[in-house]
């Protein structure tokens, strides 16, 4: 028996992938995110937890500038990906989103074939020169999403014909097809049954070997299972950010303790 396995679970790297400093987000008059500083490490799963409406999804969407699509939303502060400010005027959000992929709460495969779903991203970003290369990218992405074995004989079947867990893994395959460096996941398992959830969580654990993963979840048990670092948000503020085991066994802030033990909503 190998008792050295504990080290696998700890934070493997200390490189910081995304640095956010003093980030504020306003929806019109509402101050949704208040002065958040957080460093997302590389090749690690970071979880954002907190009660409903605490701003964790809003903050997640800042990381790939999806908030740009909302007219009333205004973001101030500094967010750097690999030391480049993502809100710089020269940055094209479209290009940013190829590097920072996103998986949503409800599985939303395109109503096309499985192949086309995965191939869409590489096609529009010009990642493949010919059909053979595209086939390779599709296979690689489906393998990384632990879906290849189940769908390799029916790549032309519609993506919407898969089960919920498979659809979500298809969305993950689609997101990794553009070779992102960061994967953002907004409550990826909330629409799935427990077995599918466990499969996706296992997949997330495998993905952290290649990508930095940030996952927003309203289930703190999921954050406990899947992440190495956890950030607790409350009313728009980042209350505590630390190693997951420490947060769940001896949190420092009493608000964190209240939330985790189920004493506040």
């Amino acid at each position: 028996m190998n008792d050295m396995r504990f080290t696998e679970r700890n934070v493997d790297s200390t490189e910081i992938k995304i640095r956010a400093k003093n980030v504020d987000v306003f929806y019109g008059e509402t101050h949704a995110i208040k002065g958040v500083d957080v460093d997302i490490p590389e090749k690690t799963v970071t979880a954002f937890i907190g009660p409903s409406g605490c701003g964790k999804s809003t903050f997640l969407r800042c990381l790939n500038r999806m908030n740009d699509t909302i007219d009333t939303c205004r973001v101030t502060g500094d967010i750097k990906l690999d030391d480049e400010d993502i809100y710089d005027k020269r940055v094209d959000p479209v290009q940013l989103r190829a590097k920072v992929g996103m998986v949503f709460q409800k599985p939303n495969p395109f109503p096309k074939s499985i192949y086309d779903n995965v191939a869409y991203g590489p096609r529009i970003h010009g990642l493949a020169g010919n059909k053979a290369e595209l086939d390779q990218i599709v296979e690689k992405s489906l393998r990384r999403a632990a879906l290849w074995g189940e769908v390799k004989d029916r790549l032309d079947a519609p993506g919407t014909g898969l089960s919920g867990g498979q659809q979500q893994r298809l969305c993950i395959a689609r997101a990794v097809a553009t070779e992102p460096e960061v994967l953002l996941m907004d409550e990826p398992c909330s629409a799935l049954d427990p077995i599918a959830t466990a499969q996706v969580e296992e997949l997330i654990d495998e993905l952290r070997a290649r990508y930095s993963v940030v996952i927003v979840t309203h289930s703190m048990q999921q954050a406990a299972r899947v992440s190495q670092k956890t950030a607790f948000f409350h009313l728009g503020e980042l209350v505590e950010f630390g190693e997951t085991g420490a947060i769940f066994t001896k949190p420092e802030d009493p608000r964190t303790e209240s939330y985790i033990t189920g004493r506040i909503g």
Partner: protein, 451 residues
């Protein structure tokens, strides 16, 4: 802790009502609901009855238009009468007008009688020729001019019978009315019967109804929908080519790209209002702008098409916006999340999913445009047009008619045969409309996806 409601504890608990007995309120409510259901049923039945009555009357009136009486004759084509110079030159042969040809036809009828040993009292040769439609000499002349080599032969021709003869077989004309009618005599009716017996005269399906152009009041039997169908077709093509791209593009812009401010709200309200504007107003607009200002030819499908485009645009825009709205935002988010630009997400994902709705809206818009009469009347498409317009695109500028206008036209004429033809045209129009709507429903069913 609960509040005990029974005060001193000595009163009896309320007797529980049995489920098996209905209380008064329930009975009243059930009665009201049953009454309401009856009203609904009565309303539906009334609607159905009205529909059935309408359909039956139209079909009764119009069914006759689809069959017509034809006479098959062997006609001699003597060269000495038709080609005076003997050169077989069509340009020279044109000098012989239809007056030269009608005696040939009368002669053919007489010969048919003689060959079969029929004689009818009081029937002159001219009368005998009179049972054939007045279109026939023109038809014969056109044939001979096109085929001069057929001179000096005897060929078989099928001619339309005269409108009154046709009316006789459809019950409009009787021997009694024929006595007083100057266009037909009882002797001619007898002749017709005789020819019917020998098989020279017969009633069959009238394809000419669809292919021949309109005819004058004297010749209802020759009147057809050919020009009207082509005119309507051209206009539909123009509407499709113009309204669909403009409408879809405007819709996409308004729905996806336009900022959500007061100006766009104003535009949206006005588009909805446009759909409610009476169609005759569009006719006046078309007259003022397209004919008076832009100088386009009157009565041309191009003008009709442009006016109908303006009328159909609001329908298409509204239908397209509804389809675009019905695409769930999760698809757009997914596309944006992968790094597609707004344009790419609209054209690659939203539009294909909205396509069935857009298509259905377009077809319904086209079906409505097909049946519009008022604006076309104002721009002059009510004229009597005999020549087929040329092929597109210059055919768009030739005068033409339209189906609903043709119906209006025919109902204005005095001959009862035109009433029958108008009803027939209505049937044709209805068939097209039903067909288009059925296609719309089919397409919607086929392409509807579930997400």
């Amino acid at each position: 802790m609960t509040d005990a409601t029974s005060g001193d504890g000595t009163s009896q608990p309320p007797r529980k009502a049995s489920l098996l007995e209905l209380d008064a309120r329930t009975k009243k409510r059930n009665a009201a609901e049953a009454r309401f259901r009856t009203y609904g049923l009565v309303a539906v039945c009334a609607g159905l009855v009205a529909l059935v009555v309408l359909m039956v009357s139209i079909v009764n009136n119009g069914a006759g238009a689809f069959s017509q009486t034809f006479v098959t004759l062997q006609v001699e084509l003597p060269a000495d009468r038709l080609d005076k110079s003997g050169n077989r030159n069509p340009d020279e042969m044109r000098a012989v007008s239809t007056f030269g040809y009608s005696p040939l036809i009368a002669a053919a009828v007489v010969r048919a009688l003689e060959e079969n040993g029929i004689s009818i009292e009081g029937l002159s040769a001219k009368d005998a020729g009179g049972i054939i439609s007045k279109e026939a000499p023109a038809q014969l002349r056109n044939f001979v001019l096109a085929n001069p080599q057929t001179l000096d032969t005897t060929r078989e021709f099928t001619f339309l019978a005269n409108g009154r003869i046709d009316g006789y077989y459809k019950g409009r004309v009787t021997f009694a009315s024929a006595e007083m009618d100057k266009n037909v005599s009882p002797a001619q009716l007898q002749l017709a019967d005789a020819l019917l017996e020998i098989g020279v005269l017969e009633s069959k399906f009238n394809t000419l109804f669809f292919t021949s152009p309109d005819a004058s009041g004297q010749r209802p039997e020759a009147a057809g929908l050919g020009v009207a169908i082509i005119g309507s077709l051209y206009m539909m093509l123009i509407v499709l080519a113009l309204a669909l791209p403009i409408g879809v593009a405007a819709s996409i812009y308004l729905e996806e790209f336009a900022p959500k401010n007061r100006l766009t709200d104003l535009i949206e309200v006005n588009i909805a209002n446009l759909a409610a504007v009476p169609s005759i107003v569009f006719g006046i607009l078309g007259l003022a702008i397209f004919i008076n200002f832009a100088g386009l030819p009157q009565s041309a499908p191009i003008v009709g098409g442009l006016v109908l485009t303006l009328m159909t645009l609001p329908t298409i825009i509204i239908a397209t916006r509804a389809s675009l709205k019905s695409v769930p935002p999760s698809i757009r988010q997914a596309a944006l999340g992968i790094g597609a630009s707004k344009m790419q997400s609209v054209f690659h994902h939203v539009l294909p999913l909205a396509a069935p709705g857009i298509l259905t809206g377009t077809i319904i818009g086209l079906a409505q445009a097909l049946g519009e009469t008022a604006p076309l009347l104002l721009i002059g498409m009510v004229a009597f047009v005999r020549e087929f317009p040329a092929g597109p695109p210059q055919g768009f500028f030739d005068p033409a008619s339209a189906l609903p206008v043709q119906v209006y036209n025919w109902t204005q004429r005095s001959d009862p045969a035109f009433v029958e033809r108008a009803s027939g045209a209505i049937i044709v129009l209805l068939v097209f409309l039903i067909l288009m709507n059925a296609i719309a429903v089919l397409l919607r069913r086929r392409f509807e996806r579930r997400w």
